[in-house]
Amino acid sequence: MLLFGQILVNGILLGGLYGLMGLGMGLVWGVLKIVNLAHGALIMLGGYALYYLYTGAHIDPFLALPVAMILLFALGYVLQMFLLNLIVRSAQLNTLLITFGLDVVFVYMAQLLFSADFRTINPPYAGSNVNFFGVVVPYVQLASFIVAVVLASLLFLALDKTRTGRAIRATAQNLVAARLYGVNPKRIYAITFGTGAALAGAAGGLYGIVSQITPYIGVTLTAKSFVIAILGGLDKPIGVVFGGLILGIAEAMASLYLDPTYTDIISFGLLVVVLVARPAQLVGRA
């Protein structure tokens, strides 16, 4: 029973991080109708940004996280403003292909610049943990879970209350009508993609703290983010966090009851099941 509790806690902590990954994917997908195949690569870049801020500039990783997010926001903003806005209205095939191309560019750029070695962001307090009735909770995992929940709530508030947030939601619902009411869609799209990239960057930084980063982590994370966004639904940021929790717990359970080498196969199986079972309802909404 204790083991089960531990695994459940591990799953929930991992799930918060997954939720953050899905959030950026879902936001871009829901508003821009772009399924961003470079999302995982943006997560990877966020991880490296935080790694170099910590090892190069010696800033505490949790304090450096906003810096990494700002960097990724700028990257996303520029990408959308000067590249993706050119083709955002064309067939979905083209947006898939161009983000696939961006993914390739980022991965091999990272391989050239940062080498293919495993990197971990390893602050001095990485090993310490707190014990709840025998269930061990590492501080960094707890902190990254809290950061994930806070960022999700902030996004929810920003979309609900701020002027820009309302403009984003209006653009998602009806581009033409939003334009008539004075929304500049180019700018809104760029802000949205930038926000998605910033969330990816935060997720990547936290991923680098609790796990390891290489230039190649992106593809599986893109697929997972996609599944999480579907599980949660595109219109509710809170739902996406729950989608992340479901995947995190499912993966933790799979590693307990099955051979750990099968975790990838399990999450792929889950991917296919989710893809086949859910989309009809979702397409109707989006």
Binding site: R89, N94, I98, V104, V219, A223
Partner: protein, 314 residues
Amino acid sequence: MNRLWIALPILAVALAVVPWVASDTIVQYGINALLVATLAQGWNVIGGFAGYPSFGNSVFYGLGTYGTAIAMAQLHWSFGSGLVLGAVLGVACALLFGLPILRLRGPYFAIATLGLAAVMSAITATIDIAGKNIGLILPLFRGDTLFYEMSLILLVATTATVAWLARSRFGAGLVAIREDEDAAQVMGINTTMYKVAALVIAAFFSAIAGGIHAYWITFIDPASAFDPSLNVRMVIMTLFGGSGTVLGPVVGAFVLSAVSEVLASKATSVASLFYGFVIVAAVVLMPKGILDVMEGFRTARWRYFTNNLRRFRL
């Protein structure tokens, strides 16, 4: 256009003579270029004609590789039966995987193929008869000329299939699905069956290409057989040449293989980086491929590119 169809057999014959006149290095480069052109042409059927971007065709190639290797190294069958086993595995995977996934549209299919490509080498590494992590060694057979000719025949067969497709009712159905799937369905096209058939055709030729490659290099392991970067190459070559056309993928494969050969002599990651940039540039500047650029540039000059830039911008 007619003159082109007379020129093609001549070109094929010219290519067939290459092994007797060119150096070993060129023949070996030729085998790789022909096989990757076959993969690009296979991708063209599902990605170019049906408009369903598969990022997992490397899986079919890998299954062909493993089918042939298992048949020859473990069961001691002949090369021919090995190719058959590889093709059967590839087609079976396309059916099993395609039937549920191709009922879905657009990005769902793309993501599922992406996931399949990412886990397939992990799955193979757990199977005993496939040699687990270590891989398999095939019987040694030296004869670059034979492999070159087989690859050429395969590419010609694939291109002939696509040429038939472009004129057939089936091909027209695939194009209809690409342009407007709802309308295609209303017109009475069984869209799921058409898409699965397209994926099966792609899988069949990709698997045979994998089988030939396996016997040629004689050693395979999960990482090299299911190398996801193959997907990058086939997508980019098709796009560059012109997806949904008969000859575009072949032209794209030949041109880009040559360029990447030069770049890879410096560093392999530079070659891959180049591929990524070409995909991005191709989607924005020349969505119909290099053959269309040659035609459009004659009349519109540089406006050809600015027109493409303007077409879909916000």
